[in-house]
């Protein structure tokens, strides 16, 4: 059998039709024999009715929706700064990737050209006379007696009028 305390704890849910079927039957049975709990139920019913009758639904003024639409329109027309930032960052990144890629490709092309040149290179035939390629490699003119050739060619006879300065080699010979 349900006590008054049990019934009072269930009255709110009972009013809202949110009790289980068995609880509803128990509360019904209790209310039939308890004047105090029935009185409490009447008070709660009066409160609900009073609130629902005197606090009616309220309609928002038309300006509310108009301003919302205006705000949404502004949002659509106006590009947010962070979107612009992302767009700029994206373009910069694309530009960077493009530049680096092109430079890499350019370097690869140059390397390929060098490799090709190396592959096609034929070394010159060896020359073994006194005017060897070594001299040419030094970028020296073997007929320019006035410069270094005089010291290197032991058979050198200086032309008339050319002063030759002989440098001692320390007497090693």
């Amino acid at each position: 059998m349900m006590t008054c305390q049990d019934a009072l704890e269930r009255l709110s849910a009972y009013l809202d039709g949110e009790t289980s079927p068995s609880d509803r039957l128990d509360v019904d049975a209790h209310l039939q024999r308890c004047d105090g709990c029935r009185r409490e139920l009447d008070i709660l019913l009066s409160i609900d009715a009073d609130f629902r009758r005197n606090l009616p639904a309220v309609e928002p003024p038309p300006e509310v929706f108009a301003q919302v639409i205006q705000e949404l329109g502004r949002g659509r027309g106006h590009v947010a700064w962070w979107r612009l930032g992302w767009a700029a960052a994206g373009m910069t990144a694309m530009l960077l990737v493009g530049t680096i890629g092109y430079r890499q490709y350019d370097r690869y092309r140059d390397e390929q050209a060098i490799v090709k040149q190396i592959d096609q290179y034929k070394p010159p035939e060896r020359v073994s006379n006194v005017f060897s390629t070594a001299r040419y490699k030094q970028n020296e003119n073997p007929f320019d007696y006035g410069r270094s050739t005089a010291r290197q060619n032991p058979f050198h006879v200086p032309p008339a009028g050319v002063q030759v300065q002989v440098v001692s080699n320390g007497g090693g010979r």
Binding site: L11, G17, L41, D42, F51, N54
Partner: protein, 200 residues
């Protein structure tokens, strides 16, 4: 005592019809006309809830705008199995609670009572309305919101539980507690008048 038939009828009337709303919600993100239609369907319960939560017409209008903008921006996040109106109530409730936390200044009593709807003006006097609204505002926000949804809006407990992000048992306990707090105030100010006047 209440008959089961009366309660059942109340529950049927209070049940939200969400299927068309969900379809409208899917279109409303890109279609202004659909959003307008959606707004027309939800504006009354949503604005009433917000207004009863804050008790101030000007603030309620601002919060309604804020809520609508949040709803529009987040339409894509609405799950297919979710009740649209319940989802809107969740956004409205969170917006109102955040506002109440920020608010420091007391309410202006002149602006806190709305103009009654025309056909109900016969029953409601401004004084009674102000008394009842004041009782609501005396409740802590969490009890106020469940009282508005459960008693005034007559939403089902399961739906309120989703809106509040609570269990069914917690909602049941909160509504019971809210009714108790309102009862104390109501018996002090309105009880003898209404009960003596044969209202029950």
């Amino acid at each position: 005592m209440i008959s089961g038939a009366v309660l059942k009828q109340t529950a049927v009337v209070a049940a939200p019809v969400d299927t068309p709303l969900a379809e409208l919600a899917r279109r409303a993100a890109t279609d202004d006309l659909a959003f307008r239609e959606l707004y027309d369907r939800i504006k009354r319960p949503l604005f009433t809830f917000i207004f009863r939560m804050v008790g101030h017409m000007g603030e309620a209008e601002e919060l309604m705008q804020e809520t609508l903008l949040k709803i529009h921006r987040n339409l894509g996040r609405l799950r297919a199995d979710e009740s649209f109106l319940g989802w809107c109530f969740t956004i409205a409730r969170n917006t109102a609670i955040s506002h109440l936390r920020r608010r420091r200044a007391p309410l202006d009593p002149i602006d806190s009572v709305p103009e009654p709807v025309e056909h109900e003006a016969v029953h409601a006097s401004a004084e009674v309305t102000a008394d009842l609204q004041k009782m609501l505002l005396n409740l802590p926000p969490k009890y106020r919101s469940v009282f508005i949804l459960g008693v005034l809006e007559q939403r089902e407990y399961a739906e309120i539980a989703k809106i509040m992000g609570k269990s069914l048992a917690a909602v049941k306990a909160d509504i019971h507690r809210a009714r108790g707090m309102v009862r104390e105030q109501w018996v002090r100010t309105r009880g003898p008048v209404v009960l003596g006047g044969g209202e029950t």
